[in-house]
């Protein structure tokens, strides 16, 4: 399996915040998002919250030494608290809020039933085992109240958690995305080309070069 790298050393998409790549609306939107802290919770109750945070860590794990991890659970909580919807739901799933409450509680009781502990108390291996069962739809005890665990896993867990993580500038830095771009867009669009305000990728042996370039993206 591939592993995570420091591929865009020194790149911080927020360095462009005050430049021509961000318009006022973008600054406003991102400011609000960055104000969501890891403990910002409005929708989930405490039981659901502990499961949610543990779950988020399994779906989009973050480096242990990351000083300021992406508050994934809080971002999902925010989506549900503001009732931001996808615009459709499978006929076999309840609404988004009910699905999350039901699903998290069901995961927790499956954890207790199979491993004798609550979901967030389990080790990574056991948590992943449970999630893999859900992924295949093999969790189907009465606690799910008829909601297919497979649909819950794919349409709620994956969709909401993954989108929450990749809505955060820290995740953008990690993948070397240019980030917000208006009014300034891009000029150089050919293979292997980058504008001076884009992330520079660390080529093997030339990491320092990329680092220097990345310090300049906000200029």
């Amino acid at each position: 399996m591939r592993s995570r790298l420091d591929l865009y050393p020194g790149y911080d998409v927020l360095a462009k915040r005050d430049g021509p790549s961000w318009n006022a609306k973008t600054r406003e939107v991102l400011e609000k998002r960055l104000a969501i802290g890891p403990e910002t919770r409005r929708f989930f109750d405490e039981v659901e919250w502990s499961t949610m945070t543990a779950l988020a860590e399994r779906i989009v794990p973050q480096p242990a030494d990351r000083a300021d991890p992406v508050p994934v659970a809080a971002l999902v909580d925010h989506k549900l608290a503001t009732d931001t919807r996808d615009g459709y739901r499978n006929a076999e799933l309840p609404g988004e809020r009910e699905a999350w409450r039901l699903g998290l509680r069901a995961l927790d009781s499956e954890a207790r039933a199979r491993f004798g502990a609550r979901f967030h108390e389990l080790g990574a291996w056991a948590q992943d085992e449970l999630l893999k069962l859900a992924e295949k739809g093999d969790l189907d005890s009465a606690v799910w109240e008829g909601m297919p665990s497979k649909l819950f896993f794919h349409q709620r867990i994956l969709a909401d958690v993954v989108k929450a993580y990749y809505a955060h500038p820290t995740a953008w830095n990690e993948i070397g995305w240019g980030g917000p771009a208006s009014p300034r867009g891009y000029v150089r669009m050919d293979f292997d080309r980058r504008d001076p305000w884009e992330a520079a990728e660390a080529k093997p042996g030339r990491e320092d070069e990329a680092y220097q370039e990345n310090l300049r993206v906000g200029r």
């Binding site: 591939r2 995570r4 615009g87 006929a91 995305w177 771009a181």
Partner: protein, 565 residues
């Protein structure tokens, strides 16, 4: 005098966000509507009282409704156009952010089922003045002429009651109105007039398509796009920011919001934003107006004619929700076909990793296209066609959230595998089809028991592939895999379950028993009720439908105006 393009049309990065909240308080009121080309500015708008019987009440302001409203108003008719969504000024309201821009989508509840339940929302449904064109990918393609007569000429689907030569003239007109930026010579189909702007520079992702097509020995071309490559009035040329499907914050994109609607306002049309139409009233077999919810209460606008242009889900939903004693099965539904023959288009993709940096987030997502398989009916060897219909395919440029979601949902990655794979974002390129699925009566829109925030039953959308659709999917994925590999893609994988666009739930035809509306988009049952959007398509073809929707709307306007003379 104001020189075009100067002043605040060019975004000043230091400006502040607007004080009003267009998502909760209507902007088009008090005799004015937003000037979409300027920050904080307004244009005058003629307004009508509810009791005043206007010539046309149009439900929806997207590709169908907005275009039609413009032409009818320019023809001297009194027009009120309703939209359930907000009236945005892109320069000040649009952030460069995937999450935030979901405000452009129709995210009210809808229920999906069937063997292949559809994804709605971001994918295909807009809720804003300007409709889905505010977040469409701007691909502006014409139908192949034969597609207007597929039943007669190709043995599948249903014939349109329209002649392609007439449509060709209307395509000319839309392309002129939108200043489509396209190649100097388009390689497929009969002669067409030169596009009004040159094609955009293609990005690396599009060059991947070009390499693949050249290796496979088929044609390709820069895609004709409804975003200008050279200034047009207050619209600056595209800056290749890559957020096209999340709303264009520069106004380079010629959405209905910035093209036809300003013209409509100038010609005297009224646009009502945040106005959800819930029911069409009829009396003695004629429509008399629409009930709509705005500013906290239900109101009724009288009208001599009503046009439904809510796209292929909301249009049948409104017609069905308007059932009354006169029309117990819903309006215009004597054929029983309202809501039936829902057609989406295949949107399968293949993705691969490249040694070069691709950075497909730069530029419009679909800068290059091949329509080869729309025009080659036989194919040969491993790519012999064993199905009806065709497909085009285009390059892609997903932004991080969409790409991560694709990796998770279609590639099955999560955990460390996902975050590590996501780091190859800048090295990924993909090819994505827009393919022709068959009309099937079982694919349909019905009303569910669930009610939405307006108290109206929500749409239940049932969708399943037929064998022909599946055969097409197989052919397309197989071809795309080879093309992408030939272009240098490694670790190529399929995204096999994606669809786009909505059409066909109020089809047009020549026979009242087998269609909902006639060639002029007028319903067979109610002479002053029209449907003007993608719903009227009897077949979808293998190209993005917006240009055809707009061409049909222009024709409909001409027919309505001609009848009045």
């Amino acid at each position: 005098m104001r020189i075009p393009g100067l002043g605040n049309a060019a975004d000043n990065p230091k400006h502040v966000t607007p004080g009003d909240d267009p998502e909760h308080h209507p902007r088009a009121r008090d005799g004015r509507a937003p000037n979409v080309m300027r920050i904080g500015e307004w244009v005058p708008m003629r307004q009508h009282r509810d009791e005043e019987e206007v010539d046309f009440a149009i439900v929806g302001t997207g590709a169908g409704g907005g275009t039609l409203a413009c032409r009818l108003a320019e023809g001297g008719l009194s027009v009120v156009a309703f939209d359930a969504g907000p009236y945005f000024r892109p320069l000040e309201d649009f952030a460069s952010d995937e999450s935030h821009q979901s405000k452009l989508y129709w995210t009210d509840e809808r229920i999906v089922d069937g063997e292949n339940p559809l994804q709605m929302g971001s994918n295909n449904s807009g809720k804003a003045v300007g409709g889905s064109t505010v977040h469409y990918a701007m691909v502006a393609l014409r139908f192949r002429p034969e597609w207007f007569k597929t039943r007669t000429l190709m043995g599948y689907g249903a014939d349109w009651p329209l002649d392609w030569r007439e449509m060709w003239r209307y395509y000319d007109q839309v392309e002129d109105d939108l200043k489509i930026s396209g190649p100097v010579n388009y390689p497929w189909g009969p002669y067409r007039r030169r596009y009004h702007r040159r094609a955009h520079e293609i990005n690396a992702a599009a060059k991947v398509l070009a390499r693949g097509a050249e290796a496979m020995g088929i044609g390709w071309t820069p895609t004709p796009l409804a975003t200008v490559s050279a200034p047009h009035g207050d619209a600056p040329p595209c800056v290749y920011r890559g957020f096209c499907t999340l709303g264009c914050s520069t106004n380079a994109k010629q959405s209905v919001l910035v093209s036809y609607l300003p013209r409509a306002l100038k010609a005297g049309a009224e646009i009502r934003d945040l106005a959800m139409v819930g029911r069409i009233e009829t009396r003695n077999g004629r429509a008399t107006g629409v009930h709509y919810f705005r500013e906290g209460k239900w109101r009724f606008q009288r009208a001599k004619n009503v046009v439904v242009a809510g796209y292929a889900i909301e249009t049948p939903r409104l017609l069905l929700n308007s059932a009354n004693q006169e029309f117990p099965d819903g309006l215009a539904n004597s054929s029983g076909l309202v809501g039936r023959n829902l057609m989406v288009q295949g949107n399968q993709a293949v993705w691969g990793v490249f040694d070069e940096e691709i950075r497909s987030y730069k530029g419009p997502p679909s800068l290059a296209i091949s329509e080869h398989w729309n025009y080659d009916d036989k194919g040969h060897g491993p790519f012999a066609k064993d199905f009806f219909g065709g497909y085009s395919y285009m390059s892609q440029g997903p932004l991080p959230q969409l790409w991560a979601n694709t990796q998770a949902s279609a590639h099955g990655l999560w955990g460390e595998a996902l975050v590590a794979e996501m780091q190859r974002y800048n090295h990924v390129a993909g090819l994505k089809v827009v393919s022709e699925y068959m009309p099937q009566e079982r694919n349909r829109v019905t009303l569910a028991d669930v009610k939405d925030q307006y108290g109206l039953p929500v749409a239940r959308i049932t969708y399943s592939w037929c064998d022909n659709d599946k055969a097409l999917n197989r052919h397309a994925l197989k071809f795309l895999r080879e093309a992408l590999s030939a272009a240098g893609g490694r670790e190529v994988w399929d995204q096999g379950d994606d669809t786009c666009h909505l059409n066909g739930t109020a089809r047009m035809g020549a026979d009242p028993r087998t269609s909902v509306v006639d060639a002029d988009c007028r319903s067979w049952d109610i002479p002053n009720l029209y449907v003007c959007d993608g719903s009227v398509f009897p077949t979808v073809g293998g190209v993005n439908p917006s240009l055809t929707i707009q061409a049909v709307a222009l024709r409909t306007a001409d027919r309505i105006l001609a009848r009045r003379r």
